[in-house]
């Protein structure tokens, strides 16, 4: 069952310039794995090599911050919308 994923500008180069794509999976992790299988490299900035969510990317499921749901184990299903937004962050010192 497809889940709609909104793709930020930074990652559109990986998905042929599309602003939205669809993927399948029962959890965010499965969804992103499906996406990665079709668009290799697209999740590099989303999932860490250790398999967690990158600190400076926000992933939302139906407008809720996935960090406060179940992170990558958050359940998703037909009709859900996932949005990916890189953090807007920085500053004069170290973060």
């Amino acid at each position: 069952m497809p889940v709609r994923i909104k793709v930020p500008t930074l990652l559109r180069g990986h998905v042929g310039g599309q602003a939205q794509v669809e993927a399948e999976g029962g959890t965010l992790r499965e969804l992103l794995a499906d996406l990665e299988s079709r668009y290799p490299g697209v999740t590099e900035r989303i999932v860490t090599p250790e398999g967690g969510l990158h600190r400076f990317v926000n992933v939302y499921v139906n407008d809720e911050d996935a960090r406060y749901l179940g992170a990558l184990e958050t359940e998703v299903g037909d009709g859900d919308t996932v949005a990916i937004l890189p953090a807007v962050a920085g500053g004069s010192g170290s973060s």
Binding site: T9, N58, Y60, L85, V88, A89, S94
Partner: protein, 132 residues
């Protein structure tokens, strides 16, 4: 060249002064390349040396821009003690190649300075900011 309306430049400085000692941050939306809206954002870090937009507030602002047909024109933040130049942290965390990065320095409290940059893959290119 980044053309910034005077009222926007003034508001960036005012916002930076109000948030002091913490860094201030916000977004500027444009319609067809012309800045139309400055959106003050909360610094979720509440820090004098870093900033990060609150994730839910960020999503709401981006959704509003989408609904209005606006583009992200610029991301601004303040450096309260240092130059208006991207720090290593700014370069590392610049994920919006489509936006100008505006930095206001309050290092000289009587002479705030706004400078503008593009940051792509940690590489900084300065762009002139024309206020008026």
């Amino acid at each position: 060249m980044i053309e910034l309306p005077r009222s926007f430049a003034d508001e960036i400085v005012e916002h930076a002064r109000q948030e002091r000692p913490n860094e201030a941050c916000g977004l500027i939306a444009a319609k067809e390349g012309v800045p139309v809206r400055l959106i003050r954002m909360r610094n979720a870090d509440q820090s004098p040396v870093t900033f990060r937009l609150d994730p839910k507030e960020q999503l709401r602002a981006f959704d509003e821009m989408d609904e209005q047909g606006w583009d992200l024109f610029a991301i601004y933040h303040s450096h309260t003690q240092t130059d208006a130049y991207p720090s290593p942290t700014d370069r590392r965390l610049a994920f919006y190649p489509e936006a100008a990065y505006l930095i206001v320095s309050l290092a000289d409290p009587d002479g705030p300075v706004i400078r503008g940059f593009r940051i792509l893959d940690h590489e900084v290119t300065e762009e002139d900011v024309r206020v008026g």
